[in-house]
Amino acid sequence: MDYFLTEQQTMMRDLAKKIADEKIKPVAAHYDETEEFAWPIMKILADSDLFGVYIPEQYGGLGGGIVDMCVVTEELSRACGGIALGYAGTGLGTIPILLYGSEEQKKRFLPDIAKGKRLAAFCITEAGAGSDAGSIKTTARKEGDHYILNGTKQWITNAGEAEVYTVIASTDKTKGTRGASAFIVEKGTKGMDFGKKEKKMGIRASATREVIFTDCRIPAANLLSKEGMGFIIAMKTFDNSRPGVASQAVGIAQGALDHAVEYARTRVQFGQSISNFQGIQHMLADMGTQVEAARALVYATARMVDSGAKSVAKESAMAKLFASDVAMKVTTDAVQIFGGYGYMREYPVEKYMRDAKITQIYEGTSQIQRNVIAANMIKESLKK
Amino acid sequence: MPASIIIFLEKCTGCTLCVKACPFGAIHMANKKAVIDMGKCTLCGACVEACKFKAIELKKDAGAKRDLSGYKDVWVFCEQKKGVIQSISFELLGEGKKLAGKLGVKLCAVILGSGMDSKIAELSERGADIIYIVDHPALKSYQDDPYTEVLVKLAEEYKPEIILCGATTIGRSLVSRVAVKIGAGLTADCTGLDIDEKERLLLQTRPAFGGNIMATIITPNHRPQMATVRHKVMKEAEIDKSRKAEVIRKNYPEDVMKSRTRLLDVIEEIEETVNLAEADIIVSGGRGVGGPEGFAMIKELARALNAAVGASRAAVDSDWMPYSHQVGQTGKTVCPKLYIACGISGQIQHLIGMQSSDVIVAINKDPDAPIFKIATYGIVGDIFELVPALTKEFQRLLNK
């Protein structure tokens, strides 16, 4: 389907596809197996300028928006959802600075991120604060012109590899969610440590660690916006980033579907290609239709975000919900089409199924997305 | 008048035979008539032959016929390394003898080097009627400048009608320059040579597009007719100890021997003892070999057969084998008597490099691997079982 991308977006899609096909596909299984972080691929992405597609030109980027980020994320995810996350996770860590950073903060951090010199990460989740993000325990205490951070963030994507972290911490416990604030913390700051690397079901090429703050002193100038804005920043960030996760899901689904079509065409059973069987044909048709529907919703939402629409929470949640459910369904069906081969790790599709699962969980589970969607629908109805 | 190609629209029936025949994709149909894109057309004439309606005419104006009668004899440039005459030279002498016979001229060996007198007997026995020797310390090892200058001077003085040279790294570098300097026609990497006796022309047949098409090429109006010839295609000349060649020694002034480039060192680094291009048997490994450890078993089989070790691009790109062992489009083209492909699926780029081997054996666990489409013998199975088993069987056969 034609999504009427601009010339520049078409160019970045083609370049991302080239990198995915030529550089990522051949190593996807390797990184999945070893769980190493794919630095050589990050270097290639950096040299290609793709880290800068959604960053304004005055900060060294290419001046695009969320559509551009989605285009790239989808293409990379088609080859490996885990490696693509090094890219998309940087986007998640950068969005708060793009949305709420001061001119000084943008000048300081965005050019290096746009060039791919530094990766970024976003830290909100804690052991006791997952879907219930309001109950975070990490604190930031003001001391002169510094803040002192204490607490442990859990399951942080890109942790240890990234150099720029956006951290949500409580500056006033008595105010609950309205007492949360957002900070930029640079890797190497004294008192900032990383836990051991988590062993995951899928997206194993991505690094997931704890980020531990022990009397970590950061300059007050690293506060994003003002105190008490932390929860709003987090929610607005997710509204912007969810199309990105959704495009990761679309990419994973498309990658699995491509393998499934190819396999169905070449696999011979009962003396003929299994793609001759209507049972397989109908599965492929459903998979293709679902992926396209998800993609259409993702791009429509991303465009809405880029248009500057005031509230995109509902649509973003819908895109992420739908695309991640499609990814799970399509990758499961792809394994089914491969049959026994699909279950073997020597063949590529089971990895897509493992990678797809996380898209239904992180940046808000599918259940939380439904809460957001319903809450917005009810709110809209009240306003009528 | 320059060369031209015309389509007679009244004769063209729009049958598209020419479109299919064109190896350069230069013909398309417009309003059911053939149209030639002159940007792509090379005036090769394949369409003229394909057209059943005589609707295409190719005019190749060869210009004023030159007097070529002053050129005679078939020359073979005999490549030597460290004073050892390379086997390709014997293959060329074998083939050159046939060509010289058909033309009724002499077969001449040309050798450049330092202290090459000891090689006269060897070249005589291989059938040379005349041996041109240029002996000078500057010619000890190959260098582009003096070799080019000397060969140009020799050709200008003695006017051979044919010069053959191996399609080796040295041969291709050298004769390309010589051909330009003396205005000769040069055809690369020939796999077939013959003589059109009526026209006294050398018919040079060579593969293009990685062997997907073959072209026969002539040099109608320039002399000498020069060709580089692929290794292992022609048969080596028989040895006849009774033969004695006439020897012509040439000396040239020092400025002819000058080289702008300087050879500092010669490094030999082939891991296995056998050179890929020279090998009669090659055992090759691909992605299916799984890693550098897997190549140990490939090398073992190669040792048993006294064979060279090859590798697919996938194996080289994964750093399991050095690039010097790569067979295929971006590696080496080989044509041994026997090529054993282990765990190689057979991408077109690999096939291009080895499909002219006499016998191809493919071992792969995927029954649908494209390699089986060109293999003389195919085995679907686990290379980790089959390769060691084969090694053992060959060792038994060859008493190793």
Binding site: - | S173, V180, G185, A188, N212, T219, D280, S324, V380, K392
Partner: protein
């Protein structure tokens, strides 16, 4: 430092297929790409430039469509592009091609290094690079697998041979033909692609490069193609079946004569 890199647009061999019925090349849908070996030449030229500053001029002879190849070269770091294109070039063999390119290079003017791929994947001759150096009468090193040292006046390089490699020193200006081992070509950058998109390659005709009409195209080519044919496709042979020991024994029996040689 001024580096000139000569490239050729060729059909992508990955796409080349043979029609099983007519036994001819299927050209439909075959994409045109930069000759794979030339990608290494472009990368090496850009690397030399990055070491010394200066510029890379990319040069090709071909039909107007070859401009796509030039744009790709620009997106990979070349600075200027020249397309030498004229119907008079039709039918050029390697002699005429190297003559035409050397005439264009003379028009370009001063240069320090010319880099070419070792051969093109459609013709596989490896003759054009050395031909250019002969026409220009400059030193050459073919099959270069590594540039060990390079200064403004000289270079030390490794030349691949059948047995290993030679270490060769050459003064500049000179011509190198390069092999795959020399580098891993970079992918284009988005900014490079955008710059290439708006760039306007120079277009030179036979007249522009001041070439002798008699040395161009078919007339300037000593060789003539008289016949083009497709070799009978190699047929898949026998599949051997059975357990490991049996098939090994069977195969060794079949190959006995070759193995004993």
């Amino acid at each position: 430092m001024h580096i000139i890199v000569c490239i050729k647009q060729v059909p992508n061999t990955t796409d080349v297929r043979i029609d099983p019925v007519t036994n001819t090349l299927i050209r439909e849908g075959v994409e045109s790409v930069i000759n794979p070996f030339d990608a290494y030449a472009i990368e090496e030229a850009v690397r030399i430039k990055e070491r010394f500053s200066g510029k890379v001029t990319v040069l090709t002879m071909g039909p107007p469509q070859a401009e796509t190849a030039l744009r790709e070269a620009l997106s990979l770091g070349c600075d200027e592009a020249i397309l030498v294109s004229d119907r008079k070039f039709a039918g050029s063999d390697t002699w005429a091609t190297s003559y035409t390119l050397s005439a264009a290079i003379k028009k370009i003017g001063a240069f320090d290094v010319i880099v070419c791929g070792k051969q093109a994947s459609d013709g596989d001759t490896a003759q054009v690079g050395p031909g250019i150096s002969a026409h220009l009468d400059i030193p050459q090193v073919t099959y270069v697998k590594k540039i060990v040292e390079i200064s403004a006046t000289a270079a030390k390089v490794e030349r691949m041979t059948e047995e290993g490699y030679d270490i060769v020193e050459t003064p500049l200006p000179c011509l190198f033909t390069v092999v795959k081992e020399i580098n891993t070509p970079r992918l284009p950058s988005l900014k490079g692609m955008m710059r290439a998109k708006s760039a306007k390659p120079l277009k030179w005709t036979a007249e522009d490069i001041g070439a002798e009409p008699g040395s161009l195209g078919l007339d300037g080519s000593p060789t003539r193609v008289v016949k083009i044919f497709t070799p009978a496709p190699r047929k898949g042979g026998e599949m051997l079946e059975g357990d490991t020991t049996d098939v090994s024994k069977e195969l060794v029996e079949l190959l006995k004569d070759i193995a004993i040689h």
